[in-house]
Symmetry: C4
Subunit: 269 residues, 4 copies
């Protein structure tokens, strides 16, 4: 069996042959397994019974992930390039919490960040279609990010002013202990979550609450409108790029299956 | 009266003549009646008074539906083809719970799945228009299903990480007993449902809650944007199919705004 | 002063001259006043102090509205045509509750249906622009009504099945007393309202709740997508109707301010 | 150093050179600092320890903002023009609360309105891109404002009628003390906030609640549809403005897909 450094790098970093695919599937199962262990370990009644097994499993997964991490460092052309890349940071974050659990309580629970490692492994599922869809979503969101940031700034100003108003109107005796609590309440209300842990009791407070609720209900239309119109534009841009251009009249966006230009009637080359 | 096997099959499976229509209407009433019985039977005070009648009615409906089921098996060209079809499974599911009630408590309540049988009966209402609308909705949803699955995967990762964080920050003393409960809370919050059965009490927990709430409020725009833009595309595809035809070469589906046929280059009238 | 039957009918039914406008403004103020009286009268502390005045005012408004109603009956060309029209029914509903209060407790509170009468009076505000906007909204909603009805049928089926499931899983000891209560809870959850008066306590119940919440969060995209795409189609239909057509090449939807056809270059007549 | 009145006015009102920019950055930091002081001062435990420092800081900020205000009055060409402008009112509102705190309790908390002053300062961040985005959002919202007002009028009528109905059905013994409380509950429910501080207890009340919840869930599609379709229209209008120009007659804003100039009829290159 060929286990040269090049061959190993291929197995670890690519998944276009049998060995590479097997490696990725084993990794996928281990990541899901380690997340499941962290979740079950947090349930007191299950921990009481299987706590020892979970501890062993967690260390097993962590040691294997550590070996994998150093393998990747060794196999990559530039070690620092890998470590400081996005995937390198995620791989490191996936093993650190268990080691930190010697010093910090509960830190091993943070091993759930291993979920982020799934991003790397999805490629084995040959999710070519999903990748292009993800690209579509990402581009739509990026080109609407300026509008969304503006919108969040606007929301935070409303939250600040409404939180202060409610603190003045309702006061600590009705659960609005200070401005940060008032702002927390304003976010709970504006986003239509409405826990009900803090609620207005005075008629004036209920009136202002009604205003902020109607506001939250109306302005949810804004981010939705932004993303919708951005996606429609993105889609028509895609359609246009796929189209051909008539060399006679310059008409753009023609269907590649057309024989003649639909604007000037000339034969398309 | 002609009651040959062919005639019976026509009555049971079609509804384009009088007998077929009557059969479907009787079935419709029986389905609605059996659902109503199941609902009323669950209300303790009503059950105390009419429980016996309900039991009789339920067995009556079940026996009739059983007869209908075996009639369909016998009348269909291929018995196994019918049983393992979608409608066959629904018909079976509609009668099983009552028989299971000999062995399993409360299983007869599951007879409400009979509601799914309404799908079969709506055709008597000559809902031609609704069928084409349903087709439109189904196609829009199917072609956006990849994007929506991606989105749900993204949501579940956020839920996992946020649920764990809140379990670490708030802990069992504030109702966050374990990671599954934390994840339940994260879903309640992210979807803006906000029951309020579990709420953050510490300032840090309230801060993270605010972040997840604003996130949930902002990203609701994503599925909406996906479905909206998909529906707009679907509609323009429909419009295209309705397009005009070139009288010279017979090419169909031309855009009414075109001047020349894109297939043969002739001027369109 | 001319007070012939024709002149009176003009004052009461039209508002394009001074007397008609004054009549409508007085009516507007009286409607708002009578609603305000009903609202304030329901507040126990205010009623204790001003209850007598409110009773007098309510009867005053009712008598005046009754006179107005019979005036409209007398002045309209066909009395029965007016009484059974939409506005006639609203006018009648606005006066009945006070008379019914002799026989039925609290019925006078129903005088708030007088709010519907505002529909008639808005025309004095010369809301020409609003009328065309309302027409736009109405048409968009009507042409998407089939899709929305289908969607509500789909929602109710989910509600029925989920409500039953939760009743079986959680049971009366956790507040799910019967199927109707379970369906009420399912609606509260699916619509993301989330009162928190009934919440799942068992792990299985919380799991199913999470599913229904994610479902509710995802499918809110459907009605929004329906209405959005319908409105976009409505708007482009409006634009097309406003456009002119080239008589040479048949290009539709040209801007009326254009001099030459943008498709074939011919002079537009 | 040149400190003529013209030079000072340039520093205070413009930010296109070094001194002007420095002035704006110092102002930005002071605004954020004064808001932070107001927020922290409202937390009882922090106030107990640092209350004296906060009082000093608040007065310091207020005095500096007062000096700045009078500087702006003196430097602007027409003093009354500045004072009664939008920004002048905001600047005044930002200093008044502290002075009012001599007479009115808690008024100094209103200093959070200083957040509105950030509107003026954002320009230093050279947010040219954000300004055009804000312009886009503002125009989209303004041209849909008529439809949104109509929609809010419709919502308030539903709220009035539903609030009254629930007050009659549930009554004071279930927390629906009067019509205003019923309307508050209807807004909480219709907007899907759902605090749960007031909830229906009777079956009839729960039935009507279900109706209003499904209504609220369905009609959220309306404002979203309005804003989405308005934004799409706005975007296509922008695209049109960016269009091509006819080299023969100089007509601007032609659609890149046109073959002939719609103003002079010449072939477009």
């Amino acid at each position: 069996m060929d286990l040269s450094k090049e061959r190993l790098a291929h197995i670890v970093f690519e998944s276009n042959d049998r060995a590479g695919k097997t490696f990725d599937i084993v990794l996928l199962i281990m990541i899901l397994g380690s997340i499941l262990v962290a979740i079950l370990d947090s349930v007191a009644s299950i921990r009481a019974q299987y706590g020892d097994i979970f501890l062993v499993l967690e260390w097993l997964f962590t040691i294997l992930f550590t070996i994998e991490f150093f393998l990747r460092v060794w196999l990559s052309r530039k070690a620092s390039g890998y470590i400081f890349s996005f995937y390198g940071m995620v791989d490191l974050l996936a093993i650190l919490p268990t080691y930190l659990s010697f010093f910090v309580m509960n830190s091993q629970l943070l091993t759930v960040v291993r979920a982020l490692r799934l991003l790397r492994v999805v490629r084995i599922l040959k999710l070519g279609r999903y990748v292009s869809e993800a690209e579509f979503l990402k581009r739509s969101l990026r080109s609407s990010s300026h509008k969304i940031l503006l919108f969040i700034g606007f929301i935070l100003t409303i939250v600040l002013i409404m939180g202060t108003l409610m603190f003045i109107i309702e006061g600590p005796e009705n659960g609005f202990y200070n401005i940060p609590v008032g702002m927390y309440w304003a976010i709970v209300t504006l986003t239509t979550v409405g826990f009900g842990d803090i609620t207005p009791s005075t008629p004036l407070g209920q009136f202002f609450s009604s205003v902020i609720m109607l506001l939250g209900y109306a302005i949810i239309a804004v981010p939705t409108g932004i993303v919708s119109s951005e996606m429609a534009a993105q889609r028509s841009r895609q359609d246009e790029q796929r189209g051909i251009t008539c060399h006679t009249c310059g008409k753009k966006g023609l269907d590649p299956s057309d024989s003649y230009c639909r604007a000037c009637g000339e034969l398309l080359s």
